[in-house]
Every structure is written in C-alpha cells, then in structure tokens.
Symmetry: C2
Amino acid sequence: PLIAILAGDGIGPEVTAEARRVLDTLGLDLTYEEGLVGGAAYKAAGHPLPPETLDLARRADAILFGAVGDPDCDALERQFRPEQAILGLRKDLGLFANLRPAKLFAGLEDASALRPEIARSIDMVIVRELTGDVYFGAKGIRTTADGLREGHDEMRYDETEIARIARVGFETARTRKGKLLSVDKANVLETSQLWRDVVIEVSADYPDVTLSHMYVDNAAMQLVRNPGQFDVIVTGNLFGDILSDEASMCAGSIGMLPSAALNGSNKGMYEPIHGSAPDIAGQGKANPCAAILSAAMMLRHSLDLPEAADRIEVAVAAAILGGARTPDLGGTLSTRDMGDAVLANLV
Amino acid sequence: PLIAILAGDGIGPEVTAEARRVLDTLGLDLTYEEGLVGGAAYKAAGHPLPPETLDLARRADAILFGAVGDPDCDALERQFRPEQAILGLRKDLGLFANLRPAKLFAGLEDASALRPEIARSIDMVIVRELTGDVYFGAKGIRTTADGLREGHDEMRYDETEIARIARVGFETARTRKGKLLSVDKANVLETSQLWRDVVIEVSADYPDVTLSHMYVDNAAMQLVRNPGQFDVIVTGNLFGDILSDEASMCAGSIGMLPSAALNGSNKGMYEPIHGSAPDIAGQGKANPCAAILSAAMMLRHSLDLPEAADRIEVAVAAAILGGARTPDLGGTLSTRDMGDAVLANLV
Ligand SMILES: CC(C)[C@H](C(=O)O)[C@@H](O)C(=O)O
Ligand SMILES: CC(C)[C@H](C(=O)O)[C@@H](O)C(=O)O
C-alpha cells in the first residue's frame, strides 16, 4: 500500500516523523511518498494544496497528515490559507466521515480541567459529517435591496448524505456499547428535522443499537456536566466541529488525540487533532502521540491491519502509564524521546 | 411601568412567584399583568403564543418570563410547540440582544464539573445576537433534481444587524474589564467574514475596548480549558446558543443564572436560563434564584433602577454564601424557603 505523507507546517513534520518511525518498526509492507501541503506548500508552490499533492493524495491508499497553519499566511485571501488544503482534500476525496475519539489516558487524570472523577469517565467517539452542511453550501457576500452588505451561507443536507453518515454512526456504536446519540437542532432548523427523520429511518436496520437524540446546546452542556454518559455521537459538520473540540478538551491533553476522515471505501486521511503550534515548532518539544495514534487509526481503518493498530495503541498507553511525558503533559521528554518511549513499549 | 408576567410551564410559575415576591418587597411602582404562554397556552387557547399574550407583551415595559416546555406537546407540529413562543416573542419585539452572564457564586465551587480553582475564575457575559442568523433565514425541505429530500436553512446577517449587536458587546465590555472577544467561523463562513469585518469597523468607535477574535471551535475548547480568560464575548445566534449553554454549565448550577433579551429601546424579556423541568414541577423543589436574578436584570436594563437591581443581586449572593440551598444545590430548602432566604438578606 502507498501512504501519502503530508507533514505540513509547524510541528507537523516533527510529529509525523515519529509516527513514521513507529510504522517502520512494525515491518509492514508500506511505501511512502511525501507531498507539500499548507503554508509550506503555499510558500514553495503558490497554493496550499498544489496539483502534485492532490494527485498523490488521490493515488495513495491512505494519507498521514501532520498539521497546517502558518502565521505568515494569516493575511492571505481565504483561498490561499493553509486550512483550505484540509477542506479541499476532504471534498475532493469524498472523506465524509470524521471519526474523533476522545478519551482520557490512564495516568493523565490531572491534565483535564474537569474534576478527575468526571474526566476519568470520558471514552467516546464523535462521528462528524465532513463534506456537507453550511461548510459547502452556496455562500458569499451580496448586496441587499437597501444597499447593505449581507453575508450568507446555506446549511443543507440531502437524505443520502445523512443516511451514509448515520450508518457510520450505527456501525461504530455496534463495535462499542451499542448506544448512538444523534445531535441536531431540530427545534429550529429544517436541516436538523430532516437529519432526525433520516437517522430514525436508518435505525430500522440497526435494531441492536439504541438510538437517542439531543439538541446541540444541551449536548454542549452535557459534555461538561457528565461526559461519561456518551459512547458514540453522530452529528453534522458544524456541530461536530464545535462539539468534538469541546470533547477533546474535556479529555485533557489534546496532544494525545488522533482523528480519521474516511470515504466510503476505506480510504482515509489521518491527522492529530492538534494544530501546527508555530510557537514550539522545530524545538523538539511537541508530543508525537496524537500523530502516532493517527497512524494506528490508519492501520485499522484503511489497511485492515487491526492487530498492528492494537500494538501501537497499547504501546502509547503503556508509555504514558510508565510516566513518559512531553512538556504539554508536564514532563521534559523531547518529541524523539517520546517516540523512543513508545517504541520501547511495543510488544 | 407595566410588567408582563409570562410564567409558562413546569416550574415556571413557582420560580416566577418568588421573583414577584422579591419585587413586591422593594416597594417599586410596578403593575403586573399575567399572560398565558407555552404548553399552558396551547392547552388553554390552542397556540403557544396567543394573540392576547402577544398584545400584552407589546404593551408591557418589560416581560418577566418563567419557562416553557411540556412533554405533552413534544409530538405537536413545530409551530405549536412551546419553544416557538420564545422565538415568536424575540422576533416580534425585536429583542436582538441576549445578555447571558455566567459566573460562579461564592460557596458553590463544588457545583461545577470543573476543578474548583478553574471554576472560581468564571465571570463573563455572553452577548448573543437573537433575531437573525440561521434561526430566521429562508428554510424548508425541498426536493433535489434527483428526487431526494433536502433540508436547507440559510445563515445570514447584514451589516446593520452585526453592527448593532457589536455595539452592545462594546458597551457591555466598557462596563466591565474593557475586553471584547468576537467569536465566529471566518475560516469557513462568509457570514462570519462579514461579521468580523463589521465588528472591526465598529471597534473604531470604542478605542478604549480591546477587541480580539476567536473561531467557535477554539472558543468551545477554551471555555473548558481556561474560562477565566473571558470577560465579554459577542457572537451570533447559533454559536451563542451553544457557547452560552456550555459556559453556564462550566459555572455549575444553572439554577442560578438569569438572562435578558433586549431591543434597541430598553424593552426586554427576562428569563432564567434553565428550562421548565417537568420532572420536579409543582413540588416546590425548584431553585428560584435564576428567576429572582432575572427580575434584577429587568430592573437594571428596562426600568433604570440599578440600585434596586444591586439589592437583589447582593441578597442572592448573601443567601447562598449563608448556606441557603435548594435540592439542585445539594440542600433541602423549598422554592419558597429559598425566596425567604433571599428576602431575609435584602438590605
Ligand atoms: C481548519 C478548519 C477549516 C477545520 C474545520 O472547521 O473543519 C478544523 O477546525 C477541523 O475541525 O478540522
Ligand atoms: C428553545 C430554543 C429555540 C432556544 C434557542 O435555541 O434559542 C433556547 O435554546 C435558548 O437558548 O433560548
């Protein structure tokens, strides 16, 4: 299998290098090809997602993504900003299903702003739709009849888009506690009303999964009050953006959390949920665990190598429990040291 | 001045009665008129916001609102559901500015899911736009060219709508620490890009206020990680719905938090942020503090009686510090007992 390595900006290259090192140790039959993305690509090639990179991403079986974001690019027109590369890849490759696990690693109870006994209960997956919603509807700035500037963005989902992400939610729930929560704002939004109707229709195919519904404002509260109540949450692109970041922060150390963006045929893009952290880039201080765990998700979801994925995940958990800590976790290990700690715990 | 009392459903009447009792004790020149709203109005008059109630709300100088929401009405078509009364009042009366204070009361450190040292730092006001955004744009379910059901809701703001809520944000910041944070999703939404542009334009009139910007996903994280960093946040209707509920829960006891919805000429609707809590309705268990504090906000914002507002707010804080606790706060006081405790602390 061909892996596209899109390391990107800031700490992206450092943490991706450790993920690569862990993969190399497993003796798998993988080939790698590197591509430019984000601010680095804009500076070198004039676009955050150059055609060569898009071509590589299309050819690859999976994409290991670092991070994008570069303060030098903040003033650029939106189409040239680094994050457009992420949106472009999601849309072009049809990566509609974002899996965002949020859990507390044993030993890191003190990293969360929540009380330890509440933080300890966090173990959920947020399944976020990634190629629709108000992100990709008709949008622009128009002039009203009164000559005023008016910004507009259409939120929209059709029933097939809702049904396919609902199925990912139900399938994910089946591999866990069999409980799926769908989050919407059906008391105000027609898009949410259709969302809710279709999720209920799809649930007929999953009689073994218990489905419930919650409004997004309530979900934002419950994630703080009692996050242990959640197992699998399925929601749209915008609500998923907000809630998955909130859930990650409830779990504490965002340096530990990976994510996957999948299409309908196991192709995926895998990336840490943290950003490019320009303030610590190049200093060897970044925590590579999220990148390493993203590689594990890649093995599981795109390459059908669940045992290898398990080995990585257990090694990371063991390293953390054994006390390995980068500065974000209150320790002094370098990025490379943390990679070594994970390697030392591979069984 | 004429006060419309719309007590509504569930615990609404119980908590509003205590607010009324506190107001009566202050010896102000107020007259009251009661109106039906929510599920109670639907059952009595066939509509959650009957014409007589709307007429009363229009005539009144301010509206003291309890809560709406009734499980008997869950299966009704959306237009007849209790929460439509809230949306209808906001729109009809032009109540575009929602002030949502979130703070931790001294003595209630243990009520928050956040660590006490973090919870203690919470003291912010969220200024949420309330009559625009994806709530009130064109919406519906249409059929696509392929014959699919598609839900759509347009997010939109014109520059005058943004400017007037921005001014409320800047004015609010002036009465506090002089820091205003505007929350948007300008990396994805055109509406947010215009929002950001207009907020920056308006900031020219407020050189004494420090303005900053944050994406909504990051704000959802920061509210958990370090809520003490926030003073005044201004944001749109949808983001404000989510973030203000999250902030309330970070502060702990939602039985303590009031809110105001104001138009451009001091008319306002004042309501607890909690709901109708049908499970404990009629049992005298509800915490009336949020309703009492809503009455204080009414005195301050609609009736220009800031000293009377101060007296109420100090009395509530003193009652809590003195140990008065309803069941939601881990105590045994009844709704009426808590009202008595507040009255006993009025100076
Ligand atoms: C960078 C941004 C466009 C992106 C999003 O909003 O989807 C990011 O926040 C994410 O969650 O991956
Ligand atoms: C009841 C509902 C329509 C309402 C809203 O979303 O505005 C509520 O959540 C609120 O925040 O007042």
